[in-house]
Every structure is written in C-alpha cells, then in structure tokens.
Assembly symmetry: C2
Homo-oligomer: 138 residues x 2
DNA sequence: ATAAAGGTTCCAGTAACTGGAGAGTCAACC
DNA sequence: GGTTGACTCTCCAGTTACTGGAACCTTTAT
C-alpha cells in the first residue's frame, strides 16, 4: 500500500512515516516502479506500535530497541523476555505517573463547582502532587 | 530554594528548569542578591506537574494551558472546568493507549518461554495492535 | 585563602519532526 | 488522448524542546 494509506492506518502524518523510513526505523518492504514506497500490513503494525511508544516519551532509540524484539526473531527468547520485561517496568512507571496526572486534573474538575464562583481550588491539586523519579529509562 | 534543589525535587534536569524559566513557563518567584533563581514550593509543584504532562506528549503550549488553570484563579470556574475536562479526555485517551502498549508487551513477555527457544511470537502482539486515533489533541 | 560545588549568561548542537518548493505519477473524467 | 487534482518523490530549511559547553561568578567547606 502507498505511504498515505499506511500513514492513515497507523494514525501518523505521512511526513513522519517518511522520516521513519529515512532514519531506518521502519522501512517499506519495497518500492513501486515509479519509486513509491510500498508498505505491508506488517509495517503498519510496527508504525502503530512506534506511534504508541513515542507518544509516551520513549525515544526513537528505545522504540528501535522495542522493534528489535520484533525484527530479531532469531535471538534467544530469554534475551527478548529480558528486554521486554525491562520496558514493561518503564511502562508501568509511566502508567502510575499518568494516573497521578489524571488524578490531579480530576480533582480539579471535581472540586470546581462549574458555576461562576471564582478561586477554584486548583492549588491543592498541585500541592498534593507527589515527587516521583523522572523517566530516565535507558 | 536554589535551582538545583528545585530541579531535584521536581525530578528534572537543572537545564530544563532554567529553560522553563527562560520561555516564561515557570518562573522563579525571585532572585537572590547574587542573581540566583529562587524557587518556592509552589513552583516545584508546577514543575512536577509540567514534567508529568510533558512526559505524556503534552506540548509546552498545552502544559502552559494546563498551568493557566492554576495561574488564573480568578477566571470563572466554569471556564476552568471546561478546559480541565477537555484535558482529562486527552489523558483518558492516552491512558487506554498506554494500556494497549503495555498489553502488547506483556503478551510478549508472557508468550516467550524464557528458554532459548527462538522465534518468539512477538509478531502476534503487533498484529493485534488496534488502530487508534493519534493524539492530535488541540 | 583556596578548592569544589553549584550558580549565571550565551551560544551552538541535537532529536524528532514539520513545512514548502519543485517535479514526477496515478486515477478519473471529458 | 489530454487535462485536472490528489498523491508521491527528494531535498532543504525551520521548529520545538531541550542539552552540552565555555567563560565567569557565588557559596560553602577546609
């Protein structure tokens, strides 16, 4: 399929898909006679996966590492399992951070009456914000 | 408190905190005689909040909008509530995307035996990846 | 007094896109 | 078969959000 179709299917801008091909992250399986990039279903799945990973702050290099699980199907599965497990921890950490962010905002929405009364107690939502480690997962 | 203390408390690099001050996202309440930035607890809370927001792909401008809820305590709370509610939807969407990503990886970890058997069924994890909307929340 | 640690500004570089020019390709319609 | 319009190509410049480093100043500990 053409890049536009693949991009739409993956929920990414065409520009980004082309960029991912340029940097060798996800390359189309082939080209048409006219030189159009030709994407397979498989690659669309990878694009979706990368979009998700990226949208949670995983770097391109981390995404590449995650994708390598997919690519290097010949590496030992113990190896795969170890890498994936490590990433899972990263994701779980992100999960609880996201929940914290959500709670802060939910508190805000909840605490504000929605009428025109000013001085909405947002500050307490912030004040309750716990300090967590940054996601310097490498 | 000094920038280093604030940065550590917020889980951000000093450079980033300085950058946030430069672009007027979160400015320190004052300066010492020597010209050192002086941060209050309040600002550390904001830094934490922004760190979280950023780590989930919210742009600086979106973070600014979220912070404005905090800053503009005099705006009508109906207004505040509307903005926050919209952001909450964004976060909920991110939440389910993150869960999807997690599930894909968990499936992988689970399905791989952890022994040296190659050809770990990662592909199915990817193939199951559902297409979702990108987070073009604006 | 002096060294180490941490602060300042400024400027250049990086990561990951993003927009636009200029040109070729494809599907549809007259 | 010609034309229109949407889509694609490459290349290159610009943007966002940092990030590293130089050159210099301040604070703290010895």
């Amino acid at each position: 399929m053409n890049i536009g179709t693949a991009a739409t299917a993956a929920g990414l801008p065409v520009k980004t898909v082309r960029y991912y091909a340029d940097i060798g992250l996800i390359s189309p399986s082939g080209r048409t006679d006219a030189g159009y990039r030709d994407y397979a279903e498989d690659e669309v799945s990878k694009l979706i996966f990368v979009r998700r990973a990226r949208s949670f702050g995983f770097s391109i290099d981390q995404a590449r590492e995650l994708l390598s699980l997919y690519e290097d199907r010949n590496r030992s599965s113990a190896d795969v399992k170890a890498i994936a497990a490590r990433k899972l921890e990263d994701i779980d950490a992100k999960m609880s951070e996201l929940r914290a962010l959500r709670d802060e905002l939910a508190h805000l929405v909840d605490a504000c009456r929605g009428d025109n009364r000013p001085d909405c107690p947002i500050i307490s939502g912030f004040a309750n914000a716990r300090k967590d480690r940054p996601s310097t997962s490498g």
